[in-house]
């Protein structure tokens, strides 16, 4: 519902002009992000109230111009045409007026009501530029407001101007003088504009602007003509425009677009002569002085390595330490939920309890990473705002470009976890900024090969079992191999499936350095973390339910159930026999046996977790208080023979129960849907050495990587009494089954190359806008991982090599391949030297 006093205000401007900061200033916290229909460009919108009514505000993507060459520009232009806003707030960088005003002129040609926000006036003044704002406003025929985006005081003034100008425009209609005449092209512009103005169906377009676009041969403008006019009329109009273009270019030897840009530039130069006084003394600016050090050929790589190391150290290492403080909160949350759910049964837990705890565990593994992501995203925001991110792209472009990537692939790769920790979800999300479509696709598919944080627990587990000695070396291999694989995959895809994709040049502004503001950094860190929690959280929970179901159903046959129940009864009977005549049996009269065994299990868990003498005593006190009658069963008073006997009997019963529960769960999984799939895949995975248990874990890990260790934990369950860690249990169980370090390496390699988790593939769908590419992002890594793992396992078996030897071999083969590909790609682009040679030849 739009009331007459409601406004639609659009912010338009070039990148780095401070548009987003001004948008934040205007709308405050009430803003949202969505996508423009059908494309992956962010649409940032918000709203505020002024005394007269609501003001809806949309922050258009930053564009230098309004052509149809880039997606952002097409989106911005479509929005301006179709929504006809009440006001366009054109944010320009006051220290770079000459370039900025090109967009202003285009907006005015589109007959849009414009207010010019002269941003970064402080910077301009520091650089020695003085701007006669009133004169500039008169010349352009628009209101001019000076703003300093990072300071908040100008907000009310800006809102007043917006309201006043929007009203003034409504009153005055949309007539404005023509600012730019196009010299030799002007007659054609006028003629075509008249033709357009007379065509029914094209009234909504500003005729002069559309005429210019048709003369330029703008692809999208041509489409508009075809959809709005009858075929014959459209053809006639377009043919006329094409003839005019050809005639002009033949007569003047000049591109129509060049003529248009040059004419605009002349007008801007004339305006600036009368409004801008520059008193620059030519001394290098602060940014230039910083760049001399930061971008210096020799020190640049050092600063880059230092930066990446700091990001890694602060967010991953320290962030991980932070989780030791946040994890107890999540564990406490689990305990609270556990106490609310129906209590555990003797053999089979109620479904509500099992599913509830499964969900809490899934959510917790995810929430555990929140501190890490908050820090990581804050650091990334600082890099972006300060202007250093663009420099990173500048430094690394050469290397990345050789493998089909782009300088701006750096950020997604860092987020994905170049060393040992990151997440592909924000990584894939961050590919949005890469202008080269093919490099962007290659980046999307190589980010999931990075070391996602959730892969780390499995690595740690396997290294703990099989590589006690070579642990450091293996960890080094794993954490550096990912980037090798990612680059090779990027190259492979670039020359194969991505071959036909559109590419774009690397032409990028290096913005001025400036200190990031706390507010903007925090806002982005919280926003991105929230997106992570929301997007990943919902998907992981949904899939957790599915995996849980697949692991539980169809369940055991009634015969097998009866069998387990019978063994349970036998154990209980044994317990009761042992306690015959024992006075402590009285404690059980008004409580069920299951409660006692649960009490015993809880007590044992609590005792295991109590690290100090004092904590241990606190546990005693707590359990004494919880049930004084049960307490002698777990801690027999000194010298009380009956209590000792009761305790012994209970321990035996609890142990039998745990064994039964484990057998029952394992049998359930074996017969479950997922277990059958895992078994069914054995013929395929046997070459990699994977048995059905590993298959099930890998399948489950598709939901979220974290669950691979959890599932392995279930599959390799041992009696609680043996008190062995998962490492020991899995070690014993797999060694019994003939597992070796070779299998571990095969598993590690497969896991390193394994498809992205479900959340990431959803993000791939969002970013590529295609289900086909999403399926590709699953199928390709699976095939690659299985091939590599099978090759390693088979070759290792045939040659009798150890896991470490095979890993070394794979690592150095991949490294050699990488260097070879890098060198060959470098040779295939000989443009510059040949250019020089040709020139030398022509002179000689």
């Amino acid at each position: 519902m739009t009331r007459p006093d409601d406004l639609l205000v659009v912010l338009a401007g070039q990148q780095n002009a401070g548009k987003s900061t001004l948008f934040n200033l205007l709308t405050g916290a009430r803003q949202h992000v969505a996508n423009y229909p059908g494309v992956t460009v962010d649409k940032q919108y918000g709203e505020y109230r002024d005394p007269s009514g609501r003001v809806r505000t949309v922050d258009l993507p930053g564009t230098y111009s309004l052509t149809s060459f880039s997606l952002e520009e097409r989106v911005a232009r479509d929005f301006l045409i179709s929504e006809s806003p009440d006001l366009v707030l054109n944010v320009v960088d006051a220290s770079n007026l000459r370039r900025s005003l090109h967009l202003t002129l285009q907006l005015l040609e589109m007959r849009l009501p414009v207010v010019l926000a002269l941003n970064m006036m402080d910077v301009a003044e520091r650089l020695g530029a003085q701007i006669d704002q009133e004169q500039l406003g008169r010349l352009l025929g628009v209101a001019v407001v000076p703003t300093i985006g990072r300071k908040t005081e100008g907000r009310d003034r800006l809102r007043q101007v917006i309201r006043a100008q929007a009203r003034a425009k409504q009153d005055a209609g949309r007539e404005a003088e023509i600012l730019v005449r196009y010299g030799d092209l002007e007659p054609e512009v006028v003629e075509l504009a008249e033709l357009i103005a007379r065509s029914p169906g094209l009234e909504s377009f500003p005729s002069r602007w559309l005429a210019l676009k048709l003369l330029e041969g703008d692809e999208q403008a041509v489409k508009w003509i075809h959809t709005r006019l009858l075929t014959t009329d459209a053809d006639a109009l377009l043919e006329r425009a094409a003839l005019m273009r050809a005639a002009f270019e033949a007569a003047h030897g000049l591109d129509v677009t060049d003529q248009i840009v040059a004419c605009r530039d002349r007008v801007i130069a004339r305006f600036l002569e009368r409004t801008l006084r520059e008193t620059s003394d030519g001394s290098p600016t602060l940014t230039e002085r910083i760049d001399r050090v930061i971008l210096n050929r020799w020190s640049a790589p050092l600063f880059l390595i230092l930066t990446v190391f700091l990001i890694y150290q602060i967010s991953i290492v320290w962030g991980y330490e932070l989780t030791t403080y946040t994890w107890p909160l999540l564990a406490a949350f689990r305990e609270v939920i556990a106490s609310l759910l129906p209590s555990a049964g003797f053999l089979v837990d109620p479904y509500v309890r099992a599913l509830g705890l499964w969900l809490v565990d899934s959510a917790n593994t995810l929430l555990n990473y929140v501190p890490i992501f908050l820090i990581l995203f804050a650091l990334i925001a600082i890099l972006e705002d300060s202007g250093y991110m663009a420099r990173i792209a500048f430094i690394l472009d050469k290397v990345l470009h050789r493998f089909g990537l782009h300088g701006q692939s750096t950020l997604p790769l860092i987020l994905g976890g170049v060393f040992a920790g990151g997440c592909a979800v924000p990584g894939v999300m961050a590919t949005k900024g890469i202008p080269d479509h093919r490099a962007r696709m290659a980046t999307i598919f190589s980010v999931p090969f990075m070391n996602c944080l959730a892969k780390v627990p499995l690595y740690t587990l396997l290294l703990g079992i099989f590589f006690v000695e070579g642990k450091t070396l293996m960890m080094f291999y794993i954490s550096t191999m990912t980037i090798i694989f990612a680059l090779l995959v990027a190259k492979l895809l670039t020359v194969t499936v991505l071959r036909g994709q559109e590419t774009a040049p690397f032409v990028m502004e290096l913005p001025r350095y400036h200190a990031p503001t706390l507010g903007s950094v925090l806002r982005r860190a919280v926003d991105r973390t929230w997106i992570y929690v929301k997007k990943v959280g919902t998907i992981v929970l949904a899939v957790a339910v599915v995996v849980f179901t697949l692991l539980q159903f169809p369940g055991l046959t009634s015969e097998r159930k009866a069998h387990f129940e019978q063994r349970g009864h036998a154990a209980v009977a044994l317990f009761q026999d042992a306690l015959a005549g024992n006075p402590y049996l009285a404690a059980l009269q008004d409580a069920t046996l299951t409660d006692l065994v649960n009490y015993y299990d809880d007590y044992r868990r609590a005792k295991l977790n109590a690290k100090s003498q004092a904590a241990s005593q606190a546990v005693e006190a707590r359990f004494q208080a919880r049930n004084p009658e049960f307490h002698p069963f777990v801690t027999p008073p000194a010298g009380d023979q009956d209590a000792r006997a009761a305790s012994r009997a209970l321990r035996a019963l609890a142990s039998t129960r745990t064994t039964l529960r484990r057998e029952l769960r394992e049998e359930t999984i074996v017969h479950s849907v997922l277990g059958r799939i895992g078994r069914g895949l054995e013929p395929l995975t046997q070459f990699a050495g994977f048995d059905w248990k590993i298959n099930v874990a890998l399948l489950a890990s598709f939901a979220a990587r974290e669950s691979s260790v959890a599932t392995l934990g279930v599959l390799f369950q041992q009696d609680a009494d043996t008190n062995a860690s998962l490492e020991e249990r899995m070690g014993a169980a797999t060694r019994d089954a003939g597992a070796t370090s070779l299998l571990a390496v095969s598993l590690i390699l497969f896991f390193a190359l394994y498809p992205p988790c479900l959340a990431t593939t959803i993000m791939v769908k969002v970013q590529t806008n295609s289900y086909a590419w999403m399926l590709f992002s699953i199928a390709f890594p699976t095939a690659l991982g299985l091939t590599v793992a099978s090759a390693v396992h088979s070759v290792g078996l045939a040659t009798g090599a150890t896991g470490l030897q095979m890993m070394t071999a794979v690592y150095f083969s991949a490294l050699a391949l990488l260097i070879l590909v890098g060198l060959l790609s470098g040779r295939s682009r000989p443009q510059a030297p040949e250019g020089l040679l040709a020139r030398a030849a022509s002179r000689g």
Binding site: F69, E288, D397, G407, P505, V507, G835, R839
Partner: protein
């Protein structure tokens, strides 16, 4: 979309300018999106630019015009013709 045929130019280009030297742009030999982007950034004919430096691995290069610093690959720079009066 097939990329435009790229023949080595027989004329001085921005790619030939050494760090610290200046040059005046004569015209662009790139077309379409590249040409548009270069113009948008202010790299118009007759504009004087300064070659600031090349990246640590020699490519891309950083140029300066007025108050703007721009990074572009040598492949792109090789399609910007400059006047032969570089000093």
């Amino acid at each position: 979309m097939p990329s435009p045929v790229r023949l080595p130019l027989l004329v001085p280009t921005l790619n030939d300018i050494r760090s610290g030297q200046r040059a005046r742009i004569r015209r662009h030999h790139a077309r379409g999106a590249v040409r548009q982007r270069l113009m948008d950034l202010g790299l118009m004919p007759n504009v004087e630019v300064e070659m600031v430096r090349s990246a640590p691995f020699d490519d891309p290069v950083q140029i300066k015009l007025a108050a703007t610093h721009i990074a572009l690959r040598r492949a792109e720079a090789a399609f910007i013709e400059v006047f032969d009066d570089a000093s």
